[in-house]
Amino acid sequence: MKANLSNPKEDLQAIREFMERSSKFLSLSGLSGIFAGLCALIGAAFAWFVILGSGSLFYDEYLCSVGASPFNQVTISLTIDAIIVLGTAILGAFYFSCRKARKSGQKLWTSSTRRLLWHLSIPLVAGGVFVMILIFRNSVDLVASATLVFYGLALVNAGKFTLGEIHYLGLTEILLGILAGIFVSHGLLFWTLGFGLMHIVYGTVMYYRHER
């Protein structure tokens, strides 16, 4: 009777691993989170000290005081600042994921990767379009809140297809986004907490849990 029992425990472990590896993008590196957080902190500091006049004025008051056109200098500078931060953070995520995939001998571009990016991009693109509408309607004060909420939704949506921490990072971002909407004058502060600090915190946790 024993001959037939290969080793049920090892079999189950193998099944579990195959299921995870075939359905989840596991090459996401905690270092990408830390790097993205640092980019966001630098970008936010630049926004606060350079674009928003060294923080002498509240975020929304300042933006309301600079005129009715969405194409004023401050809005344009903030948008460019945000785009540079986003671009650098994405490049970093790509670089560190490549590195992690190479180290563990796995391919980066798999069906799990495509699925992750697809589920990430739906709320993210919707959010991007919505934020552009906000900017064109001159409701710039809600941009910090909207970017955080949509980014959080994107992470929750994509969390099923990668490491579990991403789900909780998403929930945290949604919460911070709602708070940023309530305390509109502190939008930049919540933005800095969400995109800067939280990325660093969760990135560090992920790094120690999965890469050490």
């Binding site: 049920p8 195959f18 299921m19 359905s23 798999t110 069906s111």
Partner: protein
């Protein structure tokens, strides 16, 4: 009491077949190369296991052309998923008894 071992499916005894089924119950469809990357086996080895599973109607194979390149995708049948579930349950019972 029913002997749990009778639920172990002989067809899933190989580790590679277990891998194929594990991947196909969490993914709707997978192509040959995705399975190959996942299981890290040779083409011939994987093909023969896939053939065996196909013959027992545990998976279905569909071939189509993507541009000019042939692409073969695999999908678990309901029957296959059921058998796999029974096999998993039997493994769990065995662990519980140990």
């Amino acid at each position: 009491m029913k002997n749990p071992i009778s639920n172990l499916q002989k067809v899933f005894e190989s580790r590679i077949r277990l891998g194929i089924m594990s991947a196909l119950v969490v993914n709707d469809t997978l192509d040959f190369n995705a399975l190959k990357d996942l299981l890290e086996v040779t083409d011939g080895n994987l093909a023969s296991h896939l053939k065996a599973l196909e013959q027992q109607e545990i998976i279905i194979v569909s071939k189509q052309f993507v541009g000019r390149k042939p692409s073969t995708t695999y999908q678990a049948t309901d029957h296959g998923k059921n058998l796999f579930r029974q096999h998993l349950a039997a493994l769990e019972v065995l662990i519980g008894n140990q």
